[in-house]
Point group: C2
Chain length 346, copies 2
């Protein structure tokens, strides 16, 4: 997913797989194996030895063990250090997707959490979901105030330049000044992302984009989001003439909703919504087809077959929807908005 | 290379890597390892177990051992047998690229050759280069007559439906009736492909396409050609309403130059020429840049660095040239022509 999305947007990709499975695990049946830290280290060493490690961006995603997180961290630090010692601090940018869990449940080894915390000071952008943002910041997020606090903590403690929190479902009450926008945000059919690029004194600049949520579980959308952000953020940073600056940090006067991070996320979410809507339509047809067919076998067998069939039907139609990646539909509703907390002026 | 090319043309791909290297081997420096037959078998078993093995097409390429060729053969045979037992013989098509060597030199284990011969009766299309066509047919190819004999042997001995021989450089003399076209074909700056789809009585229908050759060694062009053929041949076969028929065989009255195989190859070669021309231009700039720079170190060190730099410069610019894959430039000079040998009427 990540490789195809980046390539479709024009990036030359050197992919190092951290797992090599036959299919994604939501099928509940798969084969293959996890990469070892030694294998990842060896592949990177091969690239380096062939002088192929002059990367503009590194995207790191799911790692099946804390040791692998550590190994990926070594690579990120080395690439960072190369860029710094060449006197070109903006020539390397690390997008870190700290894949640890979702909805209150950790699905990696517990010792992965502190390992990710160790990496934060070297990353440029992290893309946690709401639960992962809580794990990394040690702030429980229940409304926009606590979201602000969590992001401020990440900016301050680790000098993290950019944070984008995905898949946010805030409860209906709880935000300090529930505006009509916030009520939208908390309705079940909406998802939000909240992002921030820190100012020179580590203050958050919070923006929010709210998107319709589709009633289907898709696999790979986190990787899709991260991969598309890699390309769109670099593009937005280039347009703002920030590629020479370390971490592509915007000047302090840039408003939250005008940040390159916000502009990039708008395009990425518009692309994703088009692809996922198409996937959901196809899924519905397949679900109806299944219902209309006769199925022999025990209840358990039929349920297994149903699960496999519908999981396949929910495979994100990214290959057929590549045009939407290249040319995101213009969606006014996906505009980034600055988040104003009570006491702040508009 | 193969995965991206197929995806760009709209194919959903399940890729099973037969090697997992940091970079291609023309760098002369790389790390990583070969897949074992057990790993390939396990990944396929995983797909099958999750009901994800309903493939329309299988493309098999480089296999680092005879045992791996055999394993890939098992998968091809099983998919063929599934299609046949469902009463849909045209619903599976196997494109086999018998990667064994080039220019008279075998670069795989010797026992790979008989293993590939064993697979020929189950493949639908093979894509050997001139040397590989000799190895598989046991016919030495020195002119269009012997090319015809080699292809006829493959059609007859193995009932092979389609053969496309790539990278042909025939010597200037040697063809029976050297026409002006054949003289073009033998000039050093031209490459030919010769293809054939057998008739119902296993006779060859030979066509030829001649393309300009670029003076640079590119890696991955064999995989690029094979991957693009997968998509373009299925498209051409669909247009000719052949997808229900086993091996998408054209009726006997279809002329060589009008075969779906010929129509597909025209598009693929036009796409490739556009991408490779762009790559060659970039390569030349890099080569000039290298020459104009000062290089410290021993002669050996400088030569190594030069080799790495120029090998990178020759990396096929397929990601940036994806538009040429989607929309091949119309190139009249790349038209397929029927091959007439002496004694045959026009």
């Amino acid at each position: 997913m990540a490789t195809f999305c980046m390539q479709t947007l024009g990036c030359e990709v050197s992919a190092i797989n951290t797992v090599n499975y036959s299919n994604h695990v939501a099928y509940k049946r798969f084969s293959g194996r996890k990469s070892t830290p030694e294998e990842v280290a060896s592949l990177y060493a091969g690239l380096k030895n062939a002088r192929l490690n002059d990367f503009d961006v590194m995207l790191s995603g799911y790692c099946p063990s804390a040791a692998l997180v550590e190994e990926v961290g070594k690579i990120g630090r080395e690439l960072r250090s190369n860029a710094t010692s060449k006197g070109k601090p903006g020539s390397f940018f690390w997008v870190l997707d700290p894949v640890m869990g979702d909805n209150g449940r950790i699905y990696v080894a517990e010792d992965t959490v502190p390992m990710y915390k160790n990496l934060l000071e070297d990353a440029d952008l992290i893309l946690p979901n709401q639960f992962e943002a809580e794990l990394l910041s040690d702030v429980k997020i229940s409304d926009l105030h606590s979201m602000h606090a969590a992001i401020e903590s990440l900016h301050t403690k680790h000098q993290l330049p950019h944070v984008l929190v995905t898949s946010i479902r805030l409860p209906p009450s709880g935000s300090a000044t529930p505006s009509s926008e916030e009520q939208d945000l908390s309705a079940t059919a909406k998802l939000s992302v909240v992002g921030s690029t820190r100012t020179s004194d580590n203050k958050p600049r919070l923006f929010r984009i709210t998107v319709p949520s589709l009633p289907i579980f898709f696999s790979g959308t986190g990787d899709m989001f991260a991969a598309l952000m890699v390309s769109r953020l670099r593009q937005a940073a280039a347009e703002a003439h920030l590629l020479e600056k370390r971490s592509w940090l915007s000047p302090d006067e840039v408003a939250p909703k005008d940040l390159p991070l916000a502009k990039a996320a708008e395009k990425v979410l518009a692309s994703m919504h088009a692809v996922l809507k198409d996937t959901a339509e196809r899924y519905e047809k397949e679900a109806q087809a299944w219902e209309s067919e006769k199925h022999d076998g025990s209840e358990e067998e039929v349920e297994t077959l149903r699960h496999l069939r519908l999981t396949k039907a929910a495979e994100v139609r990214v290959v057929r929807g590549a045009k939407w990646l290249r040319e995101p539909p213009v969606m006014q509703e996906f505009e980034a908005r600055t988040v104003f907390l009570n006491g702040e002026g508009r």
